[in-house]
């Protein structure tokens, strides 16, 4: 084989080591505890937009295990056990996500702050970015305001909430040509966000998009802002690249169980396999997840931004095609 060499120049791997050291210092200075949790678990996420790598049962095992798609569930069990503020730097795995800004095996920085809400965590993410990238300041845009400002679309009220309004289709077609026919409302918003809004954010510096539609809450709690129900969630974009996703965490075990059921129902609807529910996570929530906010940040993307790399391959020792 001729492609045995690393994907990244060695100098970038030195930058990677320096970044990991810098991140660990950042958190130890703030008394946030570093933890490790298992990569292979007996349960996994039912989120229909994420596809897990199952590992078939081998040896004495009677059931498959799953490579983690993020360390979220295990870290929440630590939080429920009273661990306090914690962070983790670990590998995460998502099937099918390969491209210039994706690698099916990637490195996540995930951290939780007990007693904080997502607004407080936004500030800390901005401080981390300032330390690593030298960025100055940041903007906060409610999801709804961003769509109205850039596309003249109101994601919360336009049309019948079950359907994609004709006005959205014409906005998308005027910018993108033909678009896929069979998208539901949230998938259509994802299309507009990723194809029409993200490119514009490219020269806006650090942008936090907050207050997502409640249908996109995932594991964030829902709150009221100016009379509208929104998800207490944020996405952080730097130079138009999605870098981090944070929640004011949903602590209620009943709502969490409902969310998982709804996720599995959506999987069924899309003819995807349903996933086993993490009963240990639900038990931890029943015991009591403290009020907290958490965020996951892609370290490969962070390093790519720092080094102005065109693709993640340039910052990974052996990217997916040669791993």
């Amino acid at each position: 084989m001729s492609d045995w060499r690393p994907s990244a120049p060695l100098v970038n791997l030195k930058e990677r080591a320096a970044l990991l050291t810098q991140l660990r210092t950042f958190f130890s200075d703030r008394a946030v505890l570093e933890v490790e949790t298992p990569l292979l678990s007996q349960a996994t996420v039912p989120d229909p937009s994420i596809e897990v790598f199952p590992v078939p049962a081998a040896g004495n095992e009677s059931a498959p295990r799953y490579l983690q798609t993020s360390p979220e569930f295990a870290m929440k069990r630590l939080l429920a056990a009273g661990a306090g503020d914690i962070y983790q730097i670990s590998k995460a795995f998502r099937q099918g996500e390969a491209g210039r800004h994706h690698n099916p095996e990637f490195t996540l920085l995930e951290w939780y702050r007990v007693g904080w809400d997502h607004a407080a965590l936004v500030r800390e993410v901005a401080e981390l970015l300032s330390a690593v990238l030298g960025t100055k300041g940041w903007q906060i845009w409610p999801y709804r305001a961003l769509f109205i400002e850039l596309l003249d679309i109101d994601p919360m009220v336009d049309g019948d909430l079950g359907a994609v309004p004709e006005s959205w289709l014409s906005v998308a077609r005027s910018r993108l040509g033909d678009v896929p026919q069979d998208l539901d409302r949230d998938a259509f918003l994802d299309l507009l966000m990723s194809h029409c809004i993200e490119p514009t954010l490219g020269n806006w510096g650090v942008v936090f998009v907050t207050d997502f539609p409640p249908s996109q809450a995932a594991l964030a709690r829902k709150t009221q802002v100016a009379g509208d129900s929104v998800a207490a969630r944020f996405e952080c974009y730097v130079q138009g690249r999605e870098l981090a996703n944070g929640y004011w965490e949903q602590a209620d075990p009943e709502l969490l169980a409902e969310q998982f059921k709804a996720d599995n129902a959506r999987r069924r609807h899309r003819q995807l396999v349903e996933q086993p529910i993490d009963d240990r996570l639900l038990a931890a929530h029943h015991h009591g997840l403290p009020e907290c906010a958490g965020v996951a940040l892609g370290i490969d993307r962070l390093l790519a931004l720092k080094l102005a790399a065109e693709s993640l391959q340039e910052v990974m020792s052996f990217a997916w095609p040669v791993a």
């Binding site: 937009s49 996109q216 996405e235 999605e242």
Partner: protein
């Protein structure tokens, strides 16, 4: 033809889109961390040469196009079709004016061309990057002008007109870059 899924879209893959054969140029995977995955794809329409951009939901499929590139030898034209031959099977292919297009001015007998076949018929003709052709007509160069790097038009055996240095004379064979239509050197000098 088999169907190809978005994760199989590689540059060079030939697929059918809106009933037209296309070649994939680029395929970018786009996905919000929590949300629908898409593939933003650039394709060249092999009939018109135009580049299309389309967004697909990841996992969507397109039918493969029965398109392949073959090396064929140019034989002759009857005015309506330009005839090419497979030198190993002697099979003949007639390309019409649309398929020959710009390549017409570089067609030389016994030279090999890359022919794109769609459902077995020529869709496009691509000349080799460099070709050697004889000059059939050019003004005599003026002595002493060679150091100035001046140039003059010269008509080649295929009818193409290229600019050549002043010292080149009628009857000489020159090497031409077919992509730019520029003179490269006298033949045989690399």
């Amino acid at each position: 033809m088999p169907n190809f899924s978005t994760n199989e879209f590689k540059p060079g893959l030939k697929v059918m889109l809106d009933g037209e054969p296309c070649s994939i140029l680029e395929n970018e995977f786009v996905k919000p961390g929590k949300g629908q995955a898409f593939n933003r794809v650039k394709l060249r329409n092999l009939k018109s040469g135009r580049v299309w951009e389309r967004t697909f939901k990841s996992g969507d499929t397109l039918e493969g196009a029965d398109v392949m590139d073959v090396d064929l030898e140019y034989s002759y034209t009857d005015g309506e079709f330009w005839h090419f031959m497979d030198p190993s099977t002697y099979e003949q292919y007639g390309a019409d004016r649309d398929a020959v297009g710009e390549a017409e001015k570089w067609l030389k007998e016994q030279e090999r061309y890359e022919i794109t076949l769609y459902n077995g018929s020529p869709l496009a003709v691509t000349p080799p990057n460099f070709i050697e052709l004889e000059i059939t007509e050019t003004d005599p160069g003026l002595k002493g002008d060679t150091a100035q790097g001046g140039s003059k038009p010269a008509t080649l055996s295929t009818g193409a007109v290229v600019r050549v240095p002043l010292f080149i004379t009628e009857g000489e064979v020159i090497r031409v870059d077919t992509r730019t239509g520029e003179y490269v050197s006298r033949a045989g000098k690399g």
